[in-house]
């Protein structure tokens, strides 16, 4: 018995040392990224506040953008979504709606509302997707193209749009995403300033739950009433205004949100478009772009632009959120394993040696290790080999640092664009930064483990997102 206890003590001690080392390493990285983000945000805020004396909209230098909207059974909202996107401020735009084999009236509603007529000519290029049943043009909106194809999933639908758009850039958006009116004019900036090297840029996704939406425009911004959605607001702020800004500073951005990203069409076609066999196609495509361009020795940039904003509804129940996060986790593992050759590979520069390894450590292994910790702790307590004083200090330390990073994201928001302009809302955001450490964070480790199990079992379903819809002035 004595020797078993001794072995356990050694194991727990080893695990404890490993956790402490891991924690310091990851958080040192996070601190660096957040500091870089602060520098980047300072420049971006200054830049965005200066409005040059010219009419951007009438400038002939904006490259054409194809907005690609995959739609599957979106009959209830598709007309409003298309109307909203048609009214975006951008000089040269093509809106490609891809009906991905909907079984409801999505296509009929589009035909009826936008006076669509089928193109009789055969498509003169190979479109590497499920069978395209028809291509429709509107007789009233020159910029609208509707593609009707058999169901193949979101990646397949996006690829159909990418192959059929005539525009040199494309913007992948979800049909329920609300894009700020001038967002494209800002998102395209890297392509104007570095026309020969910019390949992708991403904007900020914000939470639309509880915001008031009128005619496809966010009229007033509010924090969601429920804690779960509120926690996600804080998570999004932290992810975008700290994480992605900091990575942008070192050209190490490896994730552009699928709900709002701009890409060079020919480069994405070169890598075969979005992969069909992945469920986090947005993460996968950016990692593959890095890999493809570095493999070919091309100079390139992937940029994050903090001002253009797209709004999306986040899950408001634990069941829906759990499903979404398990899917994200599965997709992340899949993409990491597919691109594992990039890890610690000097050929891939900062992305291969710093960004990707730290991403894997923090986002993939972090929650798993934390989950093991929650099992080890009571065991250590049971066997009386836990130093309670040490544990409490360490817990306070990890929690305090987590809160600090969350508050950093909230501070960045207040300092920069300040969309949550009431101090009460800001206080609530700060409170969520504390609250997430008690229950929510632990729950996310369970979700991560579930996601890993699903990945190992080969689960590849998306799971439907049940949306409650946006609030309008009338409500």
């Amino acid at each position: 018995m004595h020797s078993v206890l001794h072995v356990l003590r050694q194991l727990f001690f080893g695990f404890g040392v490993f956790v402490i080392g891991f924690y310091f390493l990851i958080n040192a990285y996070y601190i660096c990224i957040h500091l870089l983000a602060l520098l980047e945000l300072r420049e971006d805020v200054q830049e965005s506040r200066w409005e040059p004396p010219f009419r951007a909209f009438s400038s002939p230098f904006y490259p054409g953008i194809g907005i690609i909207v995959p739609a599957y059974n979106e009959a209830a909202t598709i007309i409003e979504s298309v109307q909203s996107m048609l009214s975006l401020n951008y000089p040269e735009m093509e809106l490609v709606v891809v009906n991905d084999g909907s079984t409801d009236e999505t296509l009929d509603r589009l035909i009826e509302n936008f006076d669509l007529e089928a193109i009789e000519a055969e498509i003169p290029i190979d479109v590497p997707t499920e069978n395209v049943r028809g291509v429709y043009r509107s007789t009233t909106y020159e910029e609208l193209l509707v593609v009707d194809k058999e169901n193949g999933g979101k990646s397949d639908a996006l690829n159909a749009g990418i192959w059929l758009t005539e525009m040199s850039l494309f913007c992948a958006v979800d049909s329920d995403t609300i894009i700020d009116r001038d967002a494209l004019l800002q998102l395209v900036r890297p392509f104007l300033e570095r026309p020969e090297t910019a390949v992708a840029s991403g904007g900020v996704i914000r939470v639309a739950n509880a915001c008031t939406i009128e005619d496809g425009i966010v009229q007033s911004v509010s924090l969601p009433k429920t804690g779960l959605a509120g926690l996600q607001v804080m998570e999004y702020l932290r992810a975008f205004y700290s994480g992605r800004l900091g990575l942008n500073r070192i050209n190490g951005l490896i994730l552009i949100s699928g709900a709002f990203g701009l890409f060079r069409t020919d480069v994405v076609r070169d890598i075969g478009g979005y992969r069909h066999d992945t469920i986090t196609e947005d993460f996968d495509i950016v990692v593959r772009l890095h890999r493809h361009l570095i493999d070919r020795g091309k100079e390139y940039t992937v940029d994050f632009v903090p001002e253009p904003v797209a709004w999306t509804e986040v899950p408001s129940t634990r069941r829906m959120l759990g499903r979404q996060r398990r899917r994200w986790y599965r997709g992340m593992v899949e993409t990491v394993i597919t691109n594992r050759k990039m890890l610690f590979n000097r050929k891939y520069g900062r992305v291969g040696t710093v960004v990707f390894p730290f991403f894997v450590a923090a986002e993939m292994f972090g929650p798993l290790i934390e989950g093991i910790g929650y099992i080890v702790l009571p065991l250590a307590l049971y066997f009386d080999i836990l130093n309670v004083q040490f544990f409490l200090i360490f817990f306070l330390l990890t929690t305090g640092f987590g809160v600090f990073l969350s508050w950093f994201g909230v501070f960045s928001e207040v300092w920069s664009f300040n969309r949550y302009d009431s101090p009460w809302q800001v206080l609530r955001l700060l409170w969520y930064g504390v609250l997430e450490n008690f229950g929510y964070r632990q729950w996310k480790t369970v979700v991560a483990w579930n996601g890993l199990v699903e990945y190992l079992k080969g689960v590849d379903t998306w799971g439907a997102m049940e949306r409650t819809g946006f609030k309008t002035d009338d409500e």
Partner: protein, 373 residues
């Protein structure tokens, strides 16, 4: 589970180290909390105070603009907060209004002391203060304050802002002066504002831009060269500059984006027999990049004479990349009346596809015009 850390002969318990870290984080948290809340409260109070006076100031501003006898003496009594709001309203209306009303707004700007303040900021401010100052002087049409200031532009953005100020106020002796401000001492790229400014100035006299391009294009970075070539593409066809060989040379550049932009720029000058050299066209049509070949097809379609169209249809029949072929047929559709009868047949599906889309473009535009009328 608790160990010690030993370094330089000293031993410290891990708990003590963690306590120190916890204290540092605790202080960081306190600072971050009060900073965030304090800033939020400050911005909220500021917004509320500004919101309270905004409607009243807007009414007074509009009264002043539309009343020819009104004067702006009342602005001297405004508080700092009110002046801030009035300045933001002035900025908004200066960008929206034109004609006689703008004169009154210029007077208001002078009454608020903005031109003199801008001069001071040009001399002593940081880059963004200088950019704000140049923007104000452009909106208020006061290039004299720029002349009076001890200031020389230092960054591409400042050069663009100075050129814009002079251009908007007809203060350039010749377009060449504005183009020189923008391009003479720089090798790095513009923002879209700079590119747009270059275009507005050069469109009055493209020769000045082509001339500086001929002298300096080798010194420019790839992004800047691409941007200048894109500007050239939009300049229209009245290019009288004798030497355009640099445009043709850019078509041999190692970067795809530069070659593509060069082909588009050459689309403007198809009437010049000196650039329509067969060997240059042969090389361009055999470019390894589909993207560049697509641009060359657009260039030929833009030239639009029967010889160019014949060359284009011939090239398209041998084009191996279906998408590039489609780019070519899209460009060719507008020249359909000059096509040999047999051409559409040999272009097969791509021609039918491009033609049908062009019909829908025309139909939608016609309907749009009807609705607008």
């Amino acid at each position: 589970m608790v160990g010690t850390i030993t370094a330089f002969g000293y031993s410290v318990s891990l708990t003590a180290v963690l306590v120190v870290f916890a204290l540092v984080i605790g202080i960081g948290l306190a600072v971050m909390f009060w900073l965030t809340v304090g800033l939020s409260v400050y911005r909220s109070v500021q917004e509320t105070r500004r919101g309270r006076v905004r409607d009243n100031l807007q009414d007074r501003l509009l009264d002043g603009v539309f009343d020819p006898d009104a004067d702006w003496g009342w602005v001297k009594e405004l508080s700092r907060n009110e002046r801030h709001v009035l300045e933001s309203l002035l900025d908004e209306y200066l960008r929206e209004l034109d004609g006689q009303n703008v004169e009154k707004l210029h007077e208001l700007g002078a009454e608020l002391g903005i031109p003199d303040r801008s001069k001071r900021e040009l001399e002593t401010g940081g880059e963004y203060e200088r950019l704000y100052a140049l923007t104000w002087l452009t909106l208020l049409r006061r290039p004299d304050r720029l002349d009076a200031a001890d200031f020389a532009p230092r960054t591409p953005r400042e050069r663009a802002a100075v050129a814009r100020l002079r251009y908007e106020n007809d203060d350039l002796e010749a377009p060449a002066e504005g183009i020189a401000i923008l391009l003479e001492e720089t090798t790095s790229q513009f923002t879209v504002f700079g590119q747009d400014t270059l275009y507005r100035i050069a469109i009055a006299n493209p020769a000045a831009l082509f001339s500086i391009g001929e002298r300096r294009y080798r010194a420019w970075s790839d992004p800047l060269l691409t941007q200048v070539l894109v500007v050239c593409q939009h300049l229209g066809t009245n290019v009288t500059t004798e030497d355009l060989s640099w445009l043709v040379s850019a078509l041999e550049h190692e970067t795809d984006a530069v070659r593509e932009a060069a082909a588009q720029a050459l689309g403007n000058v198809g009437w010049r027999s000196d650039i329509r050299d067969d060997s240059f066209l042969d090389r361009a049509l055999r470019d390894p990049s589909p993207r560049v070949r697509g641009a060359v097809y657009r260039m030929l379609a833009r030239w639009g004479d029967s010889e160019a169209i014949r060359t284009l249809t011939g090239a398209l029949q041998h084009e191996s990349n279906p998408r590039t072929r489609l780019t070519g047929t899209n460009a060719l559709v507008d020249s359909r009346d000059r096509l040999p009868d047999s051409a559409p047949e040999t272009l097969e599906n791509a021609w039918a596809w491009s033609s049908e889309h062009a019909e829908y473009d025309r139909l939608a535009r016609r309907r749009h015009r009807e609705v607008s009328d």
